[in-house]
Symmetry: C2
Subunit: 239 residues, 2 copies
């Protein structure tokens, strides 16, 4: 039976054996990749550019990360390491879950590209740490593990969906290289035309009645509170 390399990256991060001293490692590679993604967007991340910044050839990276797909998983988990989970669980599950949601949102704003990775299930250490912390928040409420997952996953699913919509608009501007004013100037005439032509009463109401420049933080908190109200009702029903 061949001793094949394990298919899970996290089991494949080898330690130094024989051979030349290493001048690279997956942590440093991941850090450079993240810096590149933060600065120029995830599409600008390429093996050649990462290698260039580290004064190496592109192929050298493959000794450490296996494939670009692996690298994205390393990037995602590394970024999860930035979550601040101190003082969690605090004993107040609603406050804790709110904090986790805010942390996830903060993370997405700091690294807008993580939305593009589709939140694949990762077995990385930081994902584990996060899951443990999250479930600890909703433990001791008299719920089984499935119901605990319901609470946590629902709050986080909402958060990710919210942030994605938020970032979709930010990224649309970044791609076109326009600021908000420029973006509005470009789309404005078309929207005016829509209002004239089409039968879009709610678009009209949105433009006329809606708050002009809502603070995204306030909107997020308002909607998160509604979700948490729903979760609270579930907890009260059992606990």
């Amino acid at each position: 039976m061949a001793d094949e390399p394990p298919p899970v990256i996290w089991a494949r991060l080898s330690s130094q054996g024989r051979g030349p001293a290493r001048t690279l490692n997956h942590v440093a590679i991941t850090a450079v990749a993240i810096a590149l993604a933060d600065a120029d967007g995830v599409d600008a991340v390429s093996m050649r550019k990462i290698a260039g910044r580290m004064d190496h050839s592109a192929m050298a990276l493959y000794r450490h990360v296996g494939s670009k797909d692996d690298l994205t998983e390393l990037m995602y988990d590394a970024v999860l390491g930035e979550l601040d989970l101190t003082g969690i669980p605090s004993g107040n599950w609603r406050a804790d879950v709110s904090r986790l949601a805010r942390e996830i949102r903060r993370l997405h704003h700091a690294h807008p590209w993580i939305a593009r990775f589709g939140h694949r299930p990762t077995l990385g250490p930081h994902a584990q740490r996060f899951r443990e912390a999250g479930l600890a928040c909703v433990d001791g409420l008299g719920l089984g593990i499935d119901a605990m997952m319901d609470l946590l996953s629902t709050a986080l699913a909402f958060t990710r969906g919210f942030v994605e919509q938020e970032l979709g608009e930010v990224e649309a501007q970044r791609r076109t290289g326009l600021d908000f004013a420029g973006y509005q100037r470009q789309t404005g005439p078309f929207i005016a035309q829509l209002l004239d032509e089409g039968d879009l009463p709610y678009l009209k109401r949105l433009i006329i009645e809606a708050e002009d420049f809502p603070d995204p933080h306030v909107v997020f908190e308002r909607r998160l509170a509604m979700v948490l109200d729903g979760l609270t009702a579930r907890v009260d029903r059992t606990g």
Copy 2:
């Protein structure tokens, strides 16, 4: 002042002027692109492959779609056209919003690649139709347009977040080319090792206590109901 082409795709879809009769149009191109994405994943969609399927050169497509980025926007809006909105609004806002959520989820399952587009804001006709239908559901409850958006966007943000996590696992399997059993066989040893080594009490509880093969539909409905409970509380407070 130069008569520059409008930056919004939807205002740039020209009609026949002089010149050779058209043998392509953006609707057909978009349809082929969607078929390709459905069959082989979004990464398999390339201008050359689309053109090949239509017996044309790659560059011919650029007469009709501007750029690949534009094409993705056309794809997204086209797919929104598959939403079944008949009988909406029905007068029962909670039932309507539930239906919209299920429709969105169904759409993501039929076209798993739409998650990768980050739900950018689109000005396409089907996105408009969907927004109008959605806001109509939550009209007449005594709420302002901002609160109406809160209800709708919260339910849909949850839905998108849920589906993304769901599809993340599906896509992870598709990429590795393994079925669920094979996937488990690959990750199993590593998870066993994690349980031995690390201090991961909740991972252990998940493996031991959690329902073995939960029906994703049931899980979705259960969590969606919690979210809607939260929204209902908000409506009752005002309405």
